[in-house]
Protein backbone atom coordinates (compact mmCIF):
# COMPACT_ATOMS: atom_id res chain seq x y z
CA UNK A 1 0.00 0.00 0.00
CA UNK A 2 2.43 2.64 -1.11
CA UNK A 3 -0.23 5.35 -1.52
CA UNK A 4 -1.35 4.91 2.07
CA UNK A 5 2.21 5.15 3.36
CA UNK A 6 2.89 8.20 1.35
CA UNK A 7 -0.26 9.89 2.60
CA UNK A 8 0.60 8.93 6.18
CA UNK A 9 4.07 10.43 5.79
CA UNK A 10 2.56 13.63 4.36
CA UNK A 11 0.17 13.87 7.27
CA UNK A 12 2.92 13.22 9.82
CA UNK A 13 4.89 15.99 8.19
CA UNK A 14 1.92 18.30 8.18
CA UNK A 15 0.28 17.52 11.51
CA UNK A 16 3.51 16.78 13.32
CA UNK A 17 6.61 18.48 12.01
CA UNK A 18 4.93 21.67 10.83
CA UNK A 19 3.32 22.18 14.23
CA UNK A 20 6.60 22.08 16.13
CA UNK A 21 7.43 25.81 15.93
CA UNK A 22 4.10 27.02 17.28
CA UNK A 23 4.04 24.37 20.00
CA UNK A 24 7.59 25.26 21.02
CA UNK A 25 6.89 28.97 21.14
CA UNK A 26 3.64 28.63 23.07
CA UNK A 27 5.00 26.12 25.55
CA UNK A 28 8.16 27.99 26.46
CA UNK A 29 6.42 31.28 27.04
CA UNK A 30 3.42 29.85 28.85
CA UNK A 31 5.69 27.73 31.07
CA UNK A 32 7.63 30.85 31.94
CA UNK A 33 4.49 32.80 32.77
CA UNK A 34 2.95 29.98 34.80
CA UNK A 35 6.07 29.74 36.95
CA UNK A 36 6.30 33.50 37.45
CA UNK A 37 2.64 33.75 38.44
CA UNK A 38 3.02 30.84 40.82
CA UNK A 39 6.12 32.38 42.33
CA UNK A 40 4.36 35.68 42.91
CA UNK A 41 1.37 33.95 44.56
CA UNK A 42 3.48 31.62 46.71
CA UNK A 43 5.41 34.40 48.32
CA UNK A 44 4.82 33.11 51.85
CA UNK A 45 7.50 31.97 54.34
CA UNK A 46 5.26 29.03 55.35
CA UNK A 47 5.52 27.42 51.94
CA UNK A 48 8.76 25.75 50.93
CA UNK A 49 10.36 27.35 47.87
CA UNK A 50 10.14 24.23 45.78
CA UNK A 51 6.31 24.46 45.74
CA UNK A 52 6.71 26.75 42.74
CA UNK A 53 8.38 24.04 40.70
CA UNK A 54 5.84 21.49 41.80
CA UNK A 55 2.86 23.62 40.83
CA UNK A 56 4.41 24.59 37.52
CA UNK A 57 5.04 20.94 36.76
CA UNK A 58 1.55 19.78 37.57
CA UNK A 59 -0.28 22.61 35.78
CA UNK A 60 1.76 21.97 32.68
CA UNK A 61 1.38 18.21 32.70
CA UNK A 62 -2.23 18.05 33.74
CA UNK A 63 -3.74 20.89 31.83
CA UNK A 64 -1.63 23.29 29.87
CA UNK A 65 0.15 20.91 27.50
CA UNK A 66 -2.61 18.42 26.75
CA UNK A 67 -5.56 20.82 26.64
CA UNK A 68 -4.35 24.27 25.69
CA UNK A 69 -1.93 23.00 23.08
CA UNK A 70 -4.66 20.75 21.66
CA UNK A 71 -6.92 23.79 21.37
CA UNK A 72 -4.16 25.60 19.50
CA UNK A 73 -3.76 22.59 17.24
CA UNK A 74 -7.51 22.51 16.67
CA UNK A 75 -7.11 25.96 15.16
CA UNK A 76 -4.11 25.12 13.07
CA UNK A 77 -4.65 21.49 12.05
CA UNK A 78 -8.45 21.48 12.15
CA UNK A 79 -8.98 24.43 9.85
CA UNK A 80 -6.43 23.03 7.46
CA UNK A 81 -7.99 19.58 7.29
CA UNK A 82 -11.47 21.01 6.79
CA UNK A 83 -10.38 23.29 3.98
CA UNK A 84 -8.28 20.61 2.30
CA UNK A 85 -11.09 18.06 2.26
CA UNK A 86 -13.69 20.74 1.52
CA UNK A 87 -11.73 21.87 -1.52
CA UNK A 88 -11.52 18.27 -2.69
CA UNK A 89 -15.29 18.09 -2.35
CA UNK A 90 -16.15 21.21 -4.34
CA UNK A 91 -13.60 20.47 -7.07
CA UNK A 92 -15.12 16.99 -7.47
CA UNK A 93 -11.92 15.21 -6.38
CA UNK A 94 -13.96 13.22 -3.88
CA UNK A 95 -16.37 12.25 -6.66
CA UNK A 96 -13.37 11.18 -8.71
CA UNK A 97 -12.28 8.90 -5.86
CA UNK A 98 -15.74 7.43 -5.55
CA UNK A 99 -15.95 6.80 -9.28
CA UNK A 100 -12.79 4.78 -9.16
CA UNK A 101 -14.39 2.64 -6.48
CA UNK A 102 -12.28 4.06 -3.66
CA UNK A 103 -13.94 4.42 -0.27
CA UNK A 104 -13.25 8.13 -0.03
CA UNK A 105 -13.95 8.53 3.68
CA UNK A 106 -11.49 5.82 4.67
CA UNK A 107 -8.99 6.90 2.10
CA UNK A 108 -8.93 10.51 3.26
CA UNK A 109 -9.44 10.12 6.99
CA UNK A 110 -7.41 7.06 7.96
CA UNK A 111 -3.95 8.56 7.36
CA UNK A 112 -4.97 11.74 9.16
CA UNK A 113 -6.39 9.94 12.18
CA UNK A 114 -3.40 7.63 12.40
CA UNK A 115 -0.96 10.52 12.07
CA UNK A 116 -2.68 12.49 14.78
CA UNK A 117 -2.88 9.56 17.18
CA UNK A 118 0.79 8.81 16.61
CA UNK A 119 2.06 12.32 16.68
CA UNK A 120 -0.11 14.36 19.04
CA UNK A 121 1.34 12.59 22.11
CA UNK A 122 4.86 13.28 20.84
CA UNK A 123 4.04 16.95 20.44
CA UNK A 124 2.48 17.13 23.87
CA UNK A 125 5.43 15.47 25.64
CA UNK A 126 7.68 17.87 23.80
CA UNK A 127 5.48 20.72 24.97
CA UNK A 128 5.68 19.50 28.60
CA UNK A 129 9.46 19.55 28.53
CA UNK A 130 9.60 22.95 26.94
CA UNK A 131 7.00 24.33 29.36
CA UNK A 132 9.07 23.25 32.32
CA UNK A 133 12.16 24.58 30.63
CA UNK A 134 10.39 27.91 30.14
CA UNK A 135 9.68 27.95 33.85
CA UNK A 136 13.32 27.27 34.50
CA UNK A 137 14.39 30.16 32.30
CA UNK A 138 11.98 32.53 34.00
CA UNK A 139 12.81 31.57 37.57
CA UNK A 140 16.47 30.70 37.51
CA UNK A 141 17.68 33.24 35.01
CA UNK A 142 15.85 36.03 36.76
CA UNK A 143 17.40 34.79 40.02
CA UNK A 144 14.11 34.01 41.77
CA UNK A 145 15.16 30.43 42.47
CA UNK A 146 18.19 28.22 42.25
CA UNK A 147 18.36 25.42 39.73
CA UNK A 148 18.33 22.84 42.53
CA UNK A 149 15.17 24.17 44.17
CA UNK A 150 13.29 24.36 40.90
CA UNK A 151 14.29 20.84 39.86
CA UNK A 152 13.44 19.54 43.33
CA UNK A 153 10.01 21.10 42.85
CA UNK A 154 9.54 19.54 39.44
CA UNK A 155 10.35 16.12 40.89
CA UNK A 156 8.21 16.37 44.03
CA UNK A 157 5.14 14.20 44.18
CA UNK A 158 5.66 13.35 40.55
CA UNK A 159 3.03 10.80 39.58
CA UNK A 160 3.50 8.83 36.32
CA UNK A 161 -0.26 8.29 36.25
CA UNK A 162 -0.61 12.01 35.44
CA UNK A 163 1.39 11.49 32.29
CA UNK A 164 -0.85 8.58 31.37
CA UNK A 165 -3.90 10.75 32.01
CA UNK A 166 -2.48 13.60 29.95
CA UNK A 167 -1.60 11.41 27.00
CA UNK A 168 -4.97 9.67 27.05
CA UNK A 169 -6.60 13.08 26.79
CA UNK A 170 -4.24 14.04 24.02
CA UNK A 171 -5.09 11.02 21.90
CA UNK A 172 -8.80 11.70 22.41
CA UNK A 173 -8.37 15.35 21.45
CA UNK A 174 -6.38 14.45 18.34
CA UNK A 175 -9.12 12.09 17.28
CA UNK A 176 -11.76 14.75 17.95
CA UNK A 177 -9.95 17.38 15.90
CA UNK A 178 -9.34 15.17 12.89
CA UNK A 179 -12.75 13.53 12.77
CA UNK A 180 -14.77 16.70 13.29
CA UNK A 181 -12.74 18.71 10.81
CA UNK A 182 -12.87 15.95 8.21
CA UNK A 183 -16.61 15.72 8.69
CA UNK A 184 -17.15 19.43 8.07
CA UNK A 185 -14.87 19.35 5.05
CA UNK A 186 -16.39 16.22 3.58
CA UNK A 187 -19.94 17.52 3.65
CA UNK A 188 -19.27 20.97 2.22
CA UNK A 189 -21.81 22.04 -0.38
CA UNK A 190 -21.30 24.99 -2.68
CA UNK A 191 -18.16 26.96 -3.41
CA UNK A 192 -15.00 28.29 -1.86
CA UNK A 193 -16.91 30.60 0.49
CA UNK A 194 -18.57 27.55 1.97
CA UNK A 195 -15.19 25.90 2.41
CA UNK A 196 -14.11 28.88 4.49
CA UNK A 197 -17.25 28.68 6.60
CA UNK A 198 -16.81 24.94 7.08
CA UNK A 199 -13.27 25.38 8.29
CA UNK A 200 -14.27 28.03 10.82
CA UNK A 201 -17.06 25.82 12.02
CA UNK A 202 -14.71 22.84 12.29
CA UNK A 203 -12.42 24.81 14.61
CA UNK A 204 -15.23 26.11 16.81
CA UNK A 205 -16.95 22.77 17.14
CA UNK A 206 -13.77 20.79 17.78
CA UNK A 207 -12.72 23.30 20.45
CA UNK A 208 -16.04 23.02 22.25
CA UNK A 209 -16.02 19.24 22.03
CA UNK A 210 -12.46 19.20 23.38
CA UNK A 211 -13.52 21.25 26.39
CA UNK A 212 -16.41 18.93 27.13
CA UNK A 213 -14.33 15.80 26.59
CA UNK A 214 -11.67 17.27 28.87
CA UNK A 215 -14.21 17.62 31.64
CA UNK A 216 -15.54 14.09 31.19
CA UNK A 217 -12.14 12.41 30.93
CA UNK A 218 -10.88 14.28 33.98
CA UNK A 219 -13.89 13.26 36.00
CA UNK A 220 -13.42 9.64 34.95
CA UNK A 221 -9.68 9.39 35.37
CA UNK A 222 -8.72 11.65 38.25
CA UNK A 223 -11.60 11.27 40.69
Amino acid sequence: MSIFWRMLMDELQFIGINSIPIVALMSTFMGAVISLQTASNMDSPLLPAYTVGYITQSSIILEFSPTIISLILAGKVGSNIASEIGTMRITEQIDALEIMGVNSINHLMLPKILASILYFPVLIVFSMFLGMFGGFLALVISDLQTTETYILGLRSWFDPYNIFYALTKTVAFGFIIVSISSFYGYYVKGGSLDVGKASTKAVVVSSVVILIANFIITKLMLL
Partner: protein, 255 residues
Amino acid sequence: MISVRNINKTFGKQQVLYDVGADFQSGRVNLIIGQSGQGKSVLAKCMVGLHEVDSGQILFDGRDFTSMDKSDRAEIRQEIGMLFQGSALFDSMTVEENVKFPLSMFTKMTKKEMQDRVDFCLDRVNLQGRNALYPSECSGGMQKRVGIARAIAMNPKYLFCDEPNSGLDPKTAIVIDSLIKDITYEYGITTIVITHDMNSVMEIGDNVIFIHQGKKWWEGDRHTIITTDNPEIEAFVFASEFMKKIRSSLKERIK
Protein backbone atom coordinates in the same frame (compact mmCIF):
# COMPACT_ATOMS: atom_id res chain seq x y z
CA MET B 1 -24.28 -1.27 -23.18
CA ILE B 2 -25.76 1.04 -20.60
CA SER B 3 -29.52 1.35 -20.42
CA VAL B 4 -31.22 4.18 -18.64
CA ARG B 5 -34.89 3.71 -17.86
CA ASN B 6 -37.26 6.47 -16.76
CA ILE B 7 -34.92 8.38 -14.52
CA ASN B 8 -36.35 11.17 -12.40
CA LYS B 9 -34.16 13.40 -10.28
CA THR B 10 -35.01 16.33 -8.06
CA PHE B 11 -32.86 18.59 -5.92
CA GLY B 12 -35.10 19.88 -3.17
CA LYS B 13 -38.05 21.36 -4.97
CA GLN B 14 -36.34 21.64 -8.33
CA GLN B 15 -36.88 18.72 -10.68
CA VAL B 16 -33.88 18.40 -12.96
CA LEU B 17 -34.57 15.18 -14.89
CA TYR B 18 -37.97 14.00 -16.10
CA ASP B 19 -38.41 10.38 -17.14
CA VAL B 20 -35.18 10.20 -19.10
CA GLY B 21 -34.57 6.91 -20.88
CA ALA B 22 -31.94 5.92 -23.41
CA ASP B 23 -29.68 3.09 -24.55
CA PHE B 24 -25.97 3.69 -24.91
CA GLN B 25 -24.41 1.03 -27.14
CA SER B 26 -20.91 -0.32 -26.65
CA GLY B 27 -18.30 0.37 -29.27
CA ARG B 28 -20.01 3.60 -30.16
CA VAL B 29 -19.58 7.19 -29.14
CA ASN B 30 -22.80 8.37 -27.52
CA LEU B 31 -23.18 12.11 -27.18
CA ILE B 32 -25.35 13.99 -24.77
CA ILE B 33 -25.89 17.54 -25.95
CA GLY B 34 -27.99 20.41 -24.76
CA GLN B 35 -27.86 23.95 -23.51
CA SER B 36 -26.19 24.93 -20.27
CA GLY B 37 -28.04 24.00 -17.10
CA GLN B 38 -30.43 21.52 -18.73
CA GLY B 39 -29.26 18.53 -16.70
CA LYS B 40 -26.54 16.86 -18.79
CA SER B 41 -23.99 16.60 -16.00
CA VAL B 42 -26.67 15.55 -13.54
CA LEU B 43 -27.73 12.76 -15.90
CA ALA B 44 -24.16 11.48 -16.17
CA LYS B 45 -23.68 11.67 -12.40
CA CYS B 46 -26.92 9.79 -11.84
CA MET B 47 -25.73 7.08 -14.19
CA VAL B 48 -22.56 6.48 -12.18
CA GLY B 49 -24.30 6.84 -8.83
CA LEU B 50 -22.79 10.12 -7.69
CA HIS B 51 -26.37 11.34 -7.41
CA GLU B 52 -29.08 8.93 -6.27
CA VAL B 53 -32.03 8.90 -8.64
CA ASP B 54 -35.55 9.38 -7.27
CA SER B 55 -36.93 6.68 -9.52
CA GLY B 56 -35.85 4.73 -12.57
CA GLN B 57 -33.23 2.16 -13.44
CA ILE B 58 -29.68 2.13 -14.72
CA LEU B 59 -28.37 -1.10 -16.20
CA PHE B 60 -24.70 -1.74 -16.97
CA ASP B 61 -24.84 -4.64 -19.42
CA GLY B 62 -27.95 -5.87 -17.70
CA ARG B 63 -26.63 -5.38 -14.17
CA ASP B 64 -29.04 -3.20 -12.25
CA PHE B 65 -26.84 -0.50 -10.76
CA THR B 66 -29.64 1.36 -8.99
CA SER B 67 -30.51 -1.46 -6.61
CA MET B 68 -26.91 -2.49 -5.84
CA ASP B 69 -25.22 -2.08 -2.50
CA LYS B 70 -22.01 -0.14 -2.03
CA SER B 71 -19.56 -2.97 -2.57
CA ASP B 72 -21.18 -4.22 -5.78
CA ARG B 73 -21.22 -0.67 -7.05
CA ALA B 74 -17.54 -0.29 -6.25
CA GLU B 75 -16.86 -3.30 -8.49
CA ILE B 76 -18.72 -1.79 -11.42
CA ARG B 77 -17.04 1.51 -10.82
CA GLN B 78 -13.66 -0.03 -11.41
CA GLU B 79 -14.89 -0.61 -14.95
CA ILE B 80 -15.84 3.07 -15.30
CA GLY B 81 -13.55 5.87 -16.34
CA MET B 82 -14.79 9.39 -15.90
CA LEU B 83 -13.56 12.77 -16.95
CA PHE B 84 -15.21 15.49 -14.89
CA GLN B 85 -16.28 18.85 -16.21
CA GLY B 86 -13.68 20.54 -14.00
CA SER B 87 -11.08 17.76 -14.50
CA ALA B 88 -11.04 16.94 -10.74
CA LEU B 89 -7.35 16.09 -10.67
CA PHE B 90 -5.86 15.33 -7.26
CA ASP B 91 -3.95 18.51 -6.67
CA SER B 92 -1.58 17.06 -4.11
CA MET B 93 -0.25 14.69 -6.77
CA THR B 94 1.77 15.16 -9.94
CA VAL B 95 0.41 14.39 -13.40
CA GLU B 96 2.09 11.01 -13.31
CA GLU B 97 0.79 10.16 -9.85
CA ASN B 98 -2.72 11.13 -10.89
CA VAL B 99 -2.68 8.69 -13.78
CA LYS B 100 -0.94 6.04 -11.70
CA PHE B 101 -3.37 6.39 -8.80
CA PRO B 102 -6.09 3.95 -9.95
CA LEU B 103 -3.42 1.49 -11.08
CA SER B 104 -1.73 1.37 -7.70
CA MET B 105 -5.05 1.24 -5.87
CA PHE B 106 -6.60 -1.58 -7.83
CA THR B 107 -4.04 -3.55 -9.79
CA LYS B 108 -1.12 -5.74 -8.88
CA MET B 109 1.08 -4.33 -11.63
CA THR B 110 4.80 -4.07 -11.05
CA LYS B 111 6.43 -0.66 -10.92
CA LYS B 112 7.67 -1.07 -14.46
CA GLU B 113 4.28 -2.09 -15.82
CA MET B 114 2.65 0.87 -14.12
CA GLN B 115 5.25 3.25 -15.48
CA ASP B 116 4.72 1.89 -18.99
CA ARG B 117 0.98 2.22 -18.69
CA VAL B 118 1.24 5.79 -17.39
CA ASP B 119 3.60 6.77 -20.19
CA PHE B 120 1.31 5.12 -22.74
CA CYS B 121 -1.73 7.02 -21.48
CA LEU B 122 0.09 10.34 -21.31
CA ASP B 123 1.42 9.70 -24.77
CA ARG B 124 -2.07 9.19 -26.14
CA VAL B 125 -3.15 12.62 -24.89
CA ASN B 126 0.05 14.26 -26.15
CA LEU B 127 1.47 14.91 -22.71
CA GLN B 128 4.66 12.90 -22.92
CA GLY B 129 7.37 14.24 -20.63
CA ARG B 130 5.00 16.27 -18.49
CA ASN B 131 4.94 13.61 -15.75
CA ALA B 132 6.40 15.73 -12.98
CA LEU B 133 4.11 18.77 -13.24
CA TYR B 134 1.48 19.45 -10.62
CA PRO B 135 -2.10 20.18 -11.76
CA SER B 136 -1.70 23.80 -10.65
CA GLU B 137 1.20 24.08 -13.10
CA CYS B 138 -0.89 22.80 -16.02
CA SER B 139 -3.09 24.87 -18.30
CA GLY B 140 -6.82 24.14 -18.32
CA GLY B 141 -6.52 22.13 -21.51
CA MET B 142 -3.61 20.12 -20.15
CA GLN B 143 -5.63 19.35 -17.04
CA LYS B 144 -8.44 18.04 -19.24
CA ARG B 145 -6.00 15.80 -21.04
CA VAL B 146 -4.52 14.50 -17.79
CA GLY B 147 -8.11 13.81 -16.69
CA ILE B 148 -8.64 11.74 -19.83
CA ALA B 149 -5.37 9.89 -19.33
CA ARG B 150 -6.44 9.04 -15.79
CA ALA B 151 -9.88 7.97 -16.97
CA ILE B 152 -8.48 5.52 -19.52
CA ALA B 153 -5.64 4.22 -17.32
CA MET B 154 -7.63 1.20 -16.14
CA ASN B 155 -8.87 0.26 -19.61
CA PRO B 156 -12.47 1.08 -18.71
CA LYS B 157 -15.47 -0.70 -20.19
CA TYR B 158 -17.51 2.45 -19.75
CA LEU B 159 -16.11 5.91 -20.36
CA PHE B 160 -17.85 9.12 -19.34
CA CYS B 161 -16.46 12.44 -20.51
CA ASP B 162 -18.11 15.65 -19.34
CA GLU B 163 -17.13 18.31 -21.88
CA PRO B 164 -13.76 16.83 -22.80
CA ASN B 165 -12.84 19.61 -25.18
CA SER B 166 -14.35 22.75 -23.75
CA GLY B 167 -11.57 25.25 -23.30
CA LEU B 168 -9.31 23.54 -25.81
CA ASP B 169 -8.10 25.04 -29.05
CA PRO B 170 -9.71 23.55 -32.18
CA LYS B 171 -6.67 21.47 -33.04
CA THR B 172 -6.30 19.88 -29.61
CA ALA B 173 -10.06 19.42 -29.50
CA ILE B 174 -9.83 17.33 -32.65
CA VAL B 175 -6.96 15.31 -31.17
CA ILE B 176 -9.07 14.59 -28.09
CA ASP B 177 -12.14 13.74 -30.15
CA SER B 178 -10.28 11.31 -32.33
CA LEU B 179 -8.61 9.80 -29.27
CA ILE B 180 -12.02 9.17 -27.73
CA LYS B 181 -13.31 7.75 -31.00
CA ASP B 182 -10.26 5.52 -31.50
CA ILE B 183 -10.26 3.93 -28.08
CA THR B 184 -14.00 3.47 -28.22
CA TYR B 185 -13.80 1.49 -31.44
CA GLU B 186 -10.54 -0.25 -30.55
CA TYR B 187 -11.65 -1.58 -27.18
CA GLY B 188 -15.40 -1.67 -27.70
CA ILE B 189 -15.95 0.82 -24.88
CA THR B 190 -19.38 2.22 -24.10
CA THR B 191 -18.54 5.87 -24.36
CA ILE B 192 -20.71 8.76 -23.27
CA VAL B 193 -19.57 12.26 -24.07
CA ILE B 194 -21.29 15.41 -22.92
CA THR B 195 -20.56 18.27 -25.23
CA HIS B 196 -21.61 21.66 -26.54
CA ASP B 197 -19.28 21.43 -29.46
CA MET B 198 -20.96 20.98 -32.85
CA ASN B 199 -17.65 20.03 -34.32
CA SER B 200 -17.55 16.99 -32.02
CA VAL B 201 -21.14 16.17 -32.89
CA MET B 202 -20.24 16.03 -36.56
CA GLU B 203 -16.95 14.21 -36.04
CA ILE B 204 -17.82 11.53 -33.50
CA GLY B 205 -21.57 11.51 -32.89
CA ASP B 206 -22.61 7.91 -33.54
CA ASN B 207 -25.62 8.44 -31.36
CA VAL B 208 -26.79 11.84 -30.17
CA ILE B 209 -29.19 12.59 -27.37
CA PHE B 210 -30.49 16.10 -26.93
CA ILE B 211 -31.49 17.01 -23.39
CA HIS B 212 -33.80 19.96 -23.03
CA GLN B 213 -35.53 21.14 -19.86
CA GLY B 214 -34.55 17.91 -18.16
CA LYS B 215 -36.18 15.71 -20.77
CA LYS B 216 -34.82 13.62 -23.59
CA TRP B 217 -36.04 15.90 -26.33
CA TRP B 218 -34.57 14.25 -29.36
CA GLU B 219 -32.39 11.30 -30.33
CA GLY B 220 -30.53 10.67 -33.57
CA ASP B 221 -27.03 10.74 -35.03
CA ARG B 222 -24.67 13.14 -36.72
CA HIS B 223 -26.54 12.80 -40.02
CA THR B 224 -30.12 13.13 -38.87
CA ILE B 225 -29.30 16.12 -36.67
CA ILE B 226 -28.81 18.16 -39.84
CA THR B 227 -32.10 17.25 -41.40
CA THR B 228 -34.36 17.25 -38.38
CA ASP B 229 -37.05 19.89 -38.16
CA ASN B 230 -37.17 19.86 -34.38
CA PRO B 231 -37.26 23.58 -33.54
CA GLU B 232 -35.28 23.31 -30.28
CA ILE B 233 -32.51 21.39 -32.03
CA GLU B 234 -32.41 24.00 -34.73
CA ALA B 235 -32.23 26.72 -32.17
CA PHE B 236 -29.44 24.92 -30.31
CA VAL B 237 -27.31 23.56 -33.13
CA PHE B 238 -27.75 26.24 -35.67
CA ALA B 239 -27.73 29.21 -33.39
CA SER B 240 -25.27 31.23 -35.42
CA GLU B 241 -25.77 32.64 -38.91
CA PHE B 242 -22.71 30.75 -40.02
CA MET B 243 -24.15 27.41 -38.94
CA LYS B 244 -27.47 28.27 -40.54
CA LYS B 245 -25.73 28.81 -43.88
CA ILE B 246 -23.86 25.54 -43.53
CA ARG B 247 -27.08 23.79 -42.78
CA SER B 248 -29.00 25.04 -45.76
CA SER B 249 -26.16 24.18 -48.13
CA LEU B 250 -25.92 20.71 -46.59
CA LYS B 251 -29.66 20.24 -46.95
CA GLU B 252 -29.43 21.28 -50.57
CA ARG B 253 -26.76 18.71 -51.18
CA ILE B 254 -28.67 15.95 -49.44
CA LYS B 255 -31.65 16.65 -51.66
